[in-house]
Subunit: 337 residues, 2 copies
DNA sequence: CTGAAAGCGCTTACAG
DNA sequence: CTGAAAGCGCTTACAG
């Protein structure tokens, strides 16, 4: 049996209150008592149990990330921003993974009810406004990343604008039949990016052709995979007439798309979305989302709210920018419009 | 204030013991009481608090992953295996991130002392035997992934053998000056892979030339990054005479290496290490580590131990295999030996 | 099947 | 600066 605060108190000849104070860095402990307690605690390998502390103090110094599908490049980069921020502070980080097979809202509520953390970072959790509203009653600090809802602090990127910029850049170069390599239509990012794609079409007086919106057959991770990208691009290259350029819904799909072009020997300019670290090394033109910054900033924001619950709610929206690399440099590039 | 078990008990007209039993799926509750409690609990949005349950029952149904540098491809894939297994069971998953800037053993001990979970999966945590031995006294279920120590269950891959196979395949094709694109020398995987590289050299009667072991300058994530791979390959391609082939310590470094070759126009066959999902789409020959399987199997193993602490300790070691793709198909390939 | 009661290992006013 | 004591929200023998 591991030592408890009672064991330490007895051995150090003090009360459990004093032991507790030592571990909580309370100033009101004599150096003598502090030294003695630390010595004994060290000998016995003692450290306060998280669960007992949490129950008694009603706080646990923990920030929890709630995220669906953890093995995802976007998440990884956001996470590194979160970690950068958190490591400057004295909070512990825990991650809860929402399963894609069960009801999302239910799982989120479950996490909140369990009261695991003092503050939550929701990453890429997309709910209806009414569901978000419903979550407000838990009255706990939550910051949304990659999602937008007026009732909570949020940090997101304007997806429609990103897609718009990508499509627009193609149209400006004179391409008219620009495919959109898509993923699960009902997913929030796809819905938003679709809007941007259509907006650009509109602006250039081009009509929307649903045949140009293509997704793969594999739908794991909502279709944001190399495989789905490969499948979709294979279809695109098979179309007659073949589209002149392609906007991909994510860099990871674009990786699959590049491979499909290589395998078939056909090649059209493509633009990805995200700017994951790899993109630079693959020469992939893409729409940059400042993922690390988002994680860093959102964490700062969450901590601020934890310290000051009355703080005004803020929405932070980043504008994504186009990063041009070799995947859009194609020899037979058209010019003029 | 959120509802407690007392609120529910009072409103449902039963004792707190009954409420507790309902939530713990105890069979010994009348349907009537169960229905009533569930109804009230639902109305009041009640769910037992993790910390109070954990304290009272001394278990928390949680498995914790302890891992350094979370944003890493190897980890992501192992994780998906863990999740596959865990989603079949009723355990909750939490992740603790070991900071690379602080003492690792200290952080690990801290986690164990805090008693956050009932079982731990240590991924890519490398310690000395004496340190592992020291950890045994916590007497808690731990399964090691990507590390090997006799005192704990472990699931790992034979790193030396993987490197050996990669190097050997080059030597068999007649290459003699085979570079090793390395990373932080003191890291465990590098030390092991170095052994395999040397073993192959030996077998082919080639002498070890330390100039052929090259790493990048960026040492974040111990040098296992695209950038470090790019830097290292740039150096390799600059050497006179230029090495004839290159074994990379990880796929992610190989991605950087491929870019360096593309940028300089020089090209030598390369083999990566890991077989991350991307490798297939980049045509990267590599040494496959069964990452998902490792995660899946290790989780199974951990759960088994949690249910049966007396179970014999087992070491599972996978043999990595070479997956040949286009990155080793170079036109000026030599033949014969 | 159900309830009263002790206990899990801490924190934190309160009194000194 | 320090200790006695109540309380955090649960679980779980024990007795019925």
């Amino acid at each position: 049996m591991p030592a408890t605060i009672y064991d330490i108190a007895k051995k150090a000849g003090v009360s459990i209150a004093t032991v507790s104070r030592v571990f909580n860095n309370s100033a009101k402990v004599s150096d003598k008592a502090r030294t003695k307690v630390m010595k004994v605690a060290d000998e016995m390998g003692y450290h306060p149990q998280a669960y007992a502390q949490g129950l008694a103090s009603r706080k646990n110094n923990t920030v929890m990330i709630v995220v669906p599908v953890i093995s995802n490049y976007f998440f990884m980069e956001v996470l590194s921003g979160v970690q950068d921020k958190l490591s400057q502070l004295n909070y512990e980080l825990s991650i809860f993974n929402i399963s894609p097979n069960k009801d999302i809202e239910e799982q989120v509520e479950h996490v909140l009810k369990r009261r695991w953390a003092e503050g939550y970072l929701f990453i890429s959790i997309h709910l209806e406004d009414s569901q978000w509203e419903n979550l407000k009653r838990y009255n706990v600090p939550i910051t949304l990343i990659d999602e937008h809802y007026e009732g909570f602090d949020s940090v997101s990127v304007d997806n429609a604008q990103g897609a718009y910029r990508a499509a627009k850049s193609f149209f400006e170069q004179g391409y008219k039949r620009v495919a959109m390599l898509s993923a699960l239509e009902t997913s929030k990012p796809i819905r938003d990016r679709m809007k941007g794609y259509k907006k650009a079409l509109n602006e250039f007086n081009l009509s929307f052709d649903e045949k140009l919106v293509v997704k793969g057959d594999s739908m794991q991770r909502d279709g944001f995979t190399e495989r789905a990208g490969y499948e979709a691009m294979t279809k695109i290259l098979d179309m007659k007439p073949m589209p002149e350029a392609c906007f991909c819904a994510s860099d990871i799909q674009a990786v699959g798309a590049l491979k499909a072009m290589q395998d078939t020997g056909k090649r059209i300019p493509i633009i990805g979305y995200d700017d994951i670290e790899l993109a630079e090394y693959m020469g992939l033109s893409t729409i940059r989302q400042p993922m690390r910054d988002m994680g860093f900033f959102a964490t700062q924001n969450l901590i601020d709210r934890m310290n000051n619950p009355e703080k005004a709610i803020s929405q932070t929206i980043y504008s994504p920018e186009l990063v041009a690399r070799s995947s859009t440099e194609v020899k037979n590039k058209k010019t003029g419009s």
